[in-house]
């Protein structure tokens, strides 16, 4: 019966910081075994949402349920929290850290030993259990950081930016660990700015903006809904466009994405697109380093949502 219950259910959640309403009727559901990517710009309320789920902030309205139970000291035991910081004791070994957090999560001595063995395997850190955390590399620290949160085998695992500051190999390793944990049946709420990561890992993602999660859905569905069969055409210039050149690019539908060096637009594309575009740009005096056409990703969607929001804000300003 428990399998049918969502790991996390958030209904019409409203929270306030003083007079400022941060979450304005937010709805969210994370099923067991699912990885949900929580995306959004800085200050959108991701941390507030996590703190509310963890019982730290009392909402002014709505409800949060973990495995069907409202937030309480008892239901919170079903949560594993991986903070953005390395929340470990640096002078202790990985094994000692896990033992400490096992006991603090309510396990007895023998249960803790078993949990350390299991979590060590799940996070693939068995080889480093005997090393002090302060001597581990960033990637290994992140793995131990995750292992310390799953010792009590939570139903809901909340990860806050779990791959910040790690190299590509370590990041890929962490992705494998997170996938493995979802396969074990944990519902995973992954707050991240890494849109590639969200696209690769998450079965569903949601953009937290203006106090609600919208849009949300599977990455492919959201991208298709926004762009259909369009492709993203990206121009990388050798030198920044002059003002008339920039105006010309904007008239053609391009938008700058990295100062005046990178320009992109959505459009129909075929095998002649790159060749024709190169010639046209050269005629306009623009030297290109690279022109590429790619399928739009979550980053394209994020960019569009940000631009739409900026446009809406400009239009709503009094003249």
């Amino acid at each position: 019966m428990n399998e049918a219950l969502p790991a996390l259910q958030v209904l019409d959640l409203r929270t306030r910081y003083g007079s400022r309403e941060v979450l304005k009727g937010l709805n969210l559901q994370v099923a067991k075994g699912e990885i949900f990517g929580l995306l959004g710009p800085n200050g959108a309320g991701k941390t507030t949402l996590i703190r509310t789920i963890a019982g730290r902030i009392r909402p002014v309205g709505g409800a949060v349920a973990i495995m069907g139970r409202p937030v309480s000291r008892h239901s919170m035991r079903r949560i594993g929290l991986v903070p953005q910081e390395i929340a470990l004791y640096p002078h202790l070994t990985a094994q000692e850290n896990l033992e400490v957090f096992g006991r603090l999560s309510g396990l007895n001595r023998s249960q803790t030993q078993e949990a350390v063995r299991w979590a060590g395997e799940a996070a693939d850190i068995e080889a480093r259990l005997g090393e002090r955390v302060e001597h581990l590399s960033g990637g290994w620290k992140r793995r131990v950081n995750i292992a310390a949160a799953i010792l009590h085998r939570p139903d809901l695992l909340i990860l806050d930016e779990p791959t910040v500051g790690v190299d590509v190999d370590a990041r890929n390793g962490l992705h494998e660990v997170i996938k493995q944990l979802s396969h074990l049946g944990m519902g995973v709420l992954l707050a991240t700015h890494d849109l590639d990561q969200a696209e690769l890992l998450c079965s569903r993602v949601g953009f937290l903006r203006h106090g609600v999660i919208a849009p949300h859905g599977s990455p492919r569905t959201l991208i298709f809904a926004a762009f259909g069969n369009q492709r993203e055409i990206i121009i990388e210039l050798r030198a920044a466009a002059t003002k008339p050149q920039a105006e010309a690019l904007q008239r053609a539908g391009f938008a700058p994405s990295n100062g005046n060096l990178n320009w992109s637009m959505m459009g129909e594309s075929n095998e002649r697109t790159v060749q024709d575009l190169t010639s046209a740009l050269e005629r306009a005096g623009l030297m290109t380093r690279e022109i590429r056409v790619r399928e739009p990703g979550l980053d394209s969607l994020f960019l569009r949502l940000s631009r739409d929001a900026a446009t809406a804000a400009r239009e709503s300003e009094p003249a």
Binding site: R56, L81, P83, Q84, E85, F101, L104, S105, G106, H152
Partner: protein, 400 residues
């Protein structure tokens, strides 16, 4: 380039209120406290609490008592005891800093009619009182000074003639009505130690307790700062969602700091016992009780400071301030009897004063549990209140 660095330092200092307070508020505050202590210690403001005993009052003792009570540098206890034993008890209990016994015949030159009883931990108090008594007799009772000196002169010169004796009597009578000063009075004051006979010095016993509480406070404040590290590193966030909550974090640290404190105090007193022969073993149970209560108080205060402060720098500043001020006015640096009375009164609000008092009571005066129960009670109250603050503020911080 140097200017740019200078700008960074100035702006950082101005924007870090803790550092700013440390840099500019702490030095004058500490100076005021130490100035008050040491200006008192040189005699300007030091007002010794004196237990006065007069077995058989006479006209002379009454005049001297009036002069003593009028002397602003002394605080003669309200009750004049009628026996030496009562004065000794008052000094031994620490109620009075020093005892003063007046014989009825102050002009008797056969014995020293003024006896000063000194607690060995307060040797300076005896010397100061002795000087004050002789000064007062010289200033206020020159007739007594002369009458005590005359027999010695008479014995040296082979006796006065009746005429000389008459002139001397007239001079003494005149002096008793006059305020004119004559020289010091010899052989008037005798000083005796009170308290038990011990192999060690009272000062060493005093400072073992004084240093113990000083270090307890320092190390508790320093170790408590890990609470701030854990808050900033997310460890508290992680633990807070578990069944333990933040209470376990605070309580666990409280126990650790207490045990760490007890070990530190054991080491200090081990040196005192081995090197300075301070007797501890006969008083072990009460000594351990005092040590535990003092460690509790220091641990509680350390955690309260760490829970209230938002950064390690802030905690460091406030902790340094608290430890220095408490140790200065609580008697860890200079014995409190040497401070002005108002500072002695404030000193009772520090854990140092109560801890030092309890250790001295147990180890020097050989007091029982009943005698030190108020000292321990105060320390345990501080510990409980501070721990409660630490627990509640830590819980509250999770909501912020």
């Amino acid at each position: 380039m140097i200017g740019a660095m200078l700008r960074v330092m100035i702006l950082s200092l101005l924007r870090d209120r803790g550092a700013l307070a440390m840099a500019f508020l702490l030095p004058p505050t500490i100076f005021v406290i130490f100035a008050a202590i040491f200006s008192g210690a040189t005699g300007d403001e030091m007002r010794l609490q004196v237990a006065l005993a007069v077995a058989q009052p006479s006209a002379l003792t009454e005049r001297l008592e009036s002069a003593l009570r009028a002397e602003p540098s002394l605080r003669i206890m309200e009750e004049t005891f009628s026996s030496e034993a009562e004065a000794i008890a008052s000094v031994d209990s620490g109620e009075a800093d020093v005892g003063l016994i007046l014989a009825s015949n102050l002009d008797d030159t056969g014995t020293a009619p003024v006896l000063i009883l000194v607690d060995p931990a307060k040797l300076l108090a005896g010397a100061i009182l002795s000087g004050q008594v002789q000064r007062l007799i010289g200033l206020q009772m020159p007739d007594l000074a002369l009458s005590r000196t005359a027999p010695e002169i008479a014995s040296i010169v082979g006796g006065f003639t009746p005429e000389q004796q008459a002139r001397l009597d007239a001079a003494i009578a005149e002096l008793s009505a006059d305020d004119t000063s004559v020289g010091d009075t010899a052989g008037l004051v005798q000083t005796e130690m009170t308290g038990p006979e011990r192999a060690s010095g009272a000062t060493v016993t005093y400072y073992a307790g004084a240093v113990a509480i000083l270090f307890l406070l320092f190390s508790a404040m320093q170790s408590s700062a890990t609470l701030i590290e854990e808050r900033n590193s997310g460890i508290v966030d992680r633990v807070a969602i578990g069944p333990a909550g933040t209470d376990v974090v605070v309580m666990g640290k409280f126990l650790f700091l207490t045990v760490q404190g007890i070990i530190q105090v054991i080491l200090i007193f081990a040196v005192a016992a081995l090197v300075y022969r301070v007797d501890i073993l006969p008083y072990l149970p009460l000594w351990l009780l005092t040590t535990t209560a003092a460690s509790f108080a220091a641990a509680g205060l350390g955690l309260a400071v760490a829970s209230i402060c938002t950064s390690k720098q802030q905690a460091h500043t406030i902790a340094t301030f608290i430890v220095l001020v408490c140790s200065a006015i609580g008697g860890s640096m200079v014995p409190r009897f040497m401070m002005p009375p108002w500072l002695q009164d404030i000193g009772w609000y520090t854990p140092n004063a109560w801890t030092i008092e309890a250790y001295h009571g147990v180890l020097w005066r050989g007091e029982g549990l009943r005698d030190i129960v108020s000292d321990l009670g105060w320390l345990l109250t501080v510990a409980s209140m501070a721990l409660l603050v630490a627990v509640l503020v830590s819980r509250l911080r999770l909501k912020l």
